[in-house]
Symmetry: C2
Subunit: 268 residues, 2 copies
């Protein structure tokens, strides 16, 4: 991590949080871990498609300090207006000045079509849909969040859930790697421009989620199958709770430069 002197991020006051992809896996684990750190009069907005699973996440986050709201939203299709409206609705009865800190976690993500070899990719419509969810609408949601909190921009914190694949190519994952690279770079540019906004690109390591089953079921790439099979057989996959704890630790310590890519396995 950058040697720049750390400026702690303080969530012990009233904090507003948005989390995308909060219905399962890493998103759910981050929501739960986050809820333990939030000070009185905090507010969490959980987003994902599956309302039932979101309700379970909300239940796991229950705390006297936090008012939890959740909304079913398909972020592959939602418009900027939809996103703005869901953030504004969550804030009814609040003023943006009521919060000491406002955080957004961009956790939503997908792996793309793993059944087409990299050298055969030419379905532009499929690429567009992949980028809609993983890049374009992440940017759009982020913009709506910044719009709402514009007057208190110096209290804003942004966490992008990235991947080692954003900086290191992995066989069989061209969509995932290139999408993560694009997404991380957008946040790095934003961080470069807006130094008073704290921006972290957190890479959670290999985590035991449903994505692993998806990879093993769908990939046509032998190397990728081997990597994930061996991760699993060697017990090398992290529990979502473990990486969520690390994510919050990195965030709270604030020892990252603007937009820095910090991996679970990086030295502290």
């Amino acid at each position: 991590m950058a040697s720049a002197s750390a400026i702690n991020i303080d969530l012990s006051g009233a904090t507003y949080c948005v989390l995308s992809g909060a219905s399962q896996g890493i998103g759910r684990a981050i929501a739960v871990e986050l809820s333990k750190h939030l000070g009185p009069k905090s507010l969490m907005l959980l987003l994902a498609r599956n309302k039932e699973e979101l309700a379970k996440t909300a239940d796991l986050c229950k705390s006297d300090n936090v008012n939890i709201v959740f909304e079913s939203m398909d972020l592959s299709k939602a418009s900027a207006a939809d996103m703005l409206s869901v953030i504004q609705s969550s804030l009814k009865g609040y003023n943006v000045n009521d919060f000491a800190t406002s955080v957004i976690f961009h956790n939503v993500g997908s792996l793309g079509n793993l059944s087409v070899e990299t050298e055969r990719m030419d379905n532009v419509e499929e690429m567009r849909q992949y980028y809609d969810l993983n890049v374009f609408n992440v940017i759009t949601l982020n913009t709506q969040f910044l719009k709402v909190f514009e007057e208190v921009e110096d209290r804003v914190v942004i966490v992008n859930v990235t991947s080692l694949c954003a900086i290191k190519p992995m066989s069989g994952m061209a969509s995932y790697c290139s999408g993560k690279a694009a997404r991380e770079m957008y946040f790095k540019v934003l961080a470069e421009e807006k130094k008073h906004i704290r921006v972290l690109n957190y890479s959670p390591g290999p985590v035991e989620t449903s994505m692993i089953d998806y990879v093993l079921a769908e990939t046509v790439n032998a190397n990728l199958r081997e990597v994930f099979t061996s991760f699993r057989s060697q017990g090398a996959l992290l529990k979502p709770e473990i990486t969520a704890k690390k994510c919050l630790k990195v965030l709270l310590q604030g020892k990252f430069s603007p937009g820095e890519h910090v991996d679970y396995f990086d030295d502290e």
Copy 2:
């Protein structure tokens, strides 16, 4: 550059080349430089929208060794079938086995809308269009090229014209930086999977082209304007011919690992 032992790339035999964005700037300069290195019975296919300017490039490339064909093609809109057809048509009377080496240069590119601040980006249609030209259709063209040369894949060489912006965020250029990061990463994944295909990500440095005028005319970012104004006032911009020479030198020496990002300013 990687210390891996170099395996020279030999263009002194009959060579087939495709170049996108060949009507101006770096693309034109690479075409001209390339034409000097090609052995007898070589064939070049130049692609870009502007047919008149393509004709000028073709004229500048004239050589006894090289048959030059050019096609007006809008790579932001062309379909995979269009691309396949233009490559196949250029090969009429030839067999893929006639060529000792087959090279594709992905030079096409644009800067995106520089009049919207990064924190205001939320026009998904605009992002799609940007990625159509700069990422999705680059991948699609590459796939058609690989399809045609599938049976002689071990003779294939791919050069992606990338940018320092693919690995280093630059204020005011979120579309360009993230698009270049995505595009470079796709080629890195491909290179990881297909080690017998030589893949180079060449970053040409700051070059005096019409893109510079476009940046200065359009950007809303003061820092970006300052960087480019000072490049120009200090005479720090490279001539297209200079970086094209370096690109060919790097390519011919072959001292790059699969998919490596090599910058004009990197040590040799």
